[in-house]
Symmetry: C2
């Protein structure tokens, strides 16, 4: 773990990802644009909108879970992973008022967030970006990459997470679906 | 819990706090200045240096600990609390590479960070500001307020925390001591 990595997601006319669809989930869809640029630790290109998040220390994951993740997961940028999704989420203020053990109990002991995600590894790679403390309108920006033939598995993962108790604490969510091109 | 509160600590010629002393702890002292301004959720005044941190959600505190804190602690700005300290801390990259349960075990089960701090409530009021994800040079900026007659108790609190296992993971620390005037 080096310093936290600041990542910009910029919608506009440049970037390696073509925007296939902006989907509403809970609240409106993001304003669409032809392309999305993902910029790590540098100034982003100009664009129509820009979301920022930080890849930072683990907030809920235990050492045992981390070891299992490390054994199963593959990194971003795999040549076969030509599909991606950017899913910004905001949780309720009641969620953020909970203590650490209360949030962990809802998220993992009852909703099995990590355990469910683990079932889709290594097919669906994921990176979490923390945005709340940066003053952004979203709490988290989650980035997923997978091969086009794993789209069905990815949809199933989203359905299962959204049916969990944890999602009762989500007040806004939206999706951008992308293709590497 | 409302939105995270961005706080600026600005050393210069303005602000309600007079700088009594800049003390080195682990690494150099901060460059000194006559006064310190604390600005919440707004643009800071110009100054010689400025540190930023966010008052955010609880990262380690359990519901039981939070209830005990709420029963004992008093807020900032008490008229009798005319002394203050700003203590920026940076932990090692090895600390940040630990999983959540490993950090919690060192911090609370073995070092009793919250439990020790609780013994000095309500005399020594404390507010934690998270700086690491903002890209600052420090991970935390802790702010303490107490009455001048509680200075001895405050020094004892610092000695006890610095003697704990958790402090083996602190790679840099510095202090600013202040008087409200």
């Amino acid at each position: 773990m080096t310093a936290p990595l600041l990542v910009h997601f910029t919608a506009g006319d440049t970037g390696e990802w073509a925007v296939r669809e902006a989907r509403p989930v809970r609240g409106p869809a993001l304003p669409t644009a032809p392309r999305l640029a993902v910029t790590e630790g540098a100034a982003p290109p100009p664009g129509r909108w820009n979301l920022r998040g930080v890849v930072s220390s683990l907030r809920y994951t235990t050492a045992a879970e981390r070891a299992e993740l490390a054994a199963r997961q593959e990194g971003l940028g795999r040549p076969a992973a030509r599909s991606a999704a950017l899913i910004p989420i905001r949780k309720t203020s009641a969620w953020w008022a909970l203590a650490q053990d209360e949030r962990r109990a809802i998220m993992e002991e009852r909703s099995r967030h990590n355990a469910v995600g683990m079932e889709y590894l290594p097919a669906v790679a994921r990176r979490l970006h923390h945005a709340r403390d940066l003053g952004e309108a979203w709490d988290f920006l989650t980035w997923f990459e997978y091969a086009p033939e794993d789209e069905g598995a990815f949809e199933e993962l989203l359905r299962r997470l959204r049916a969990s108790e944890e999602w009762e604490w989500v007040e806004a969510e939206t999706e951008l679906r992308l293709d590497r091109s």
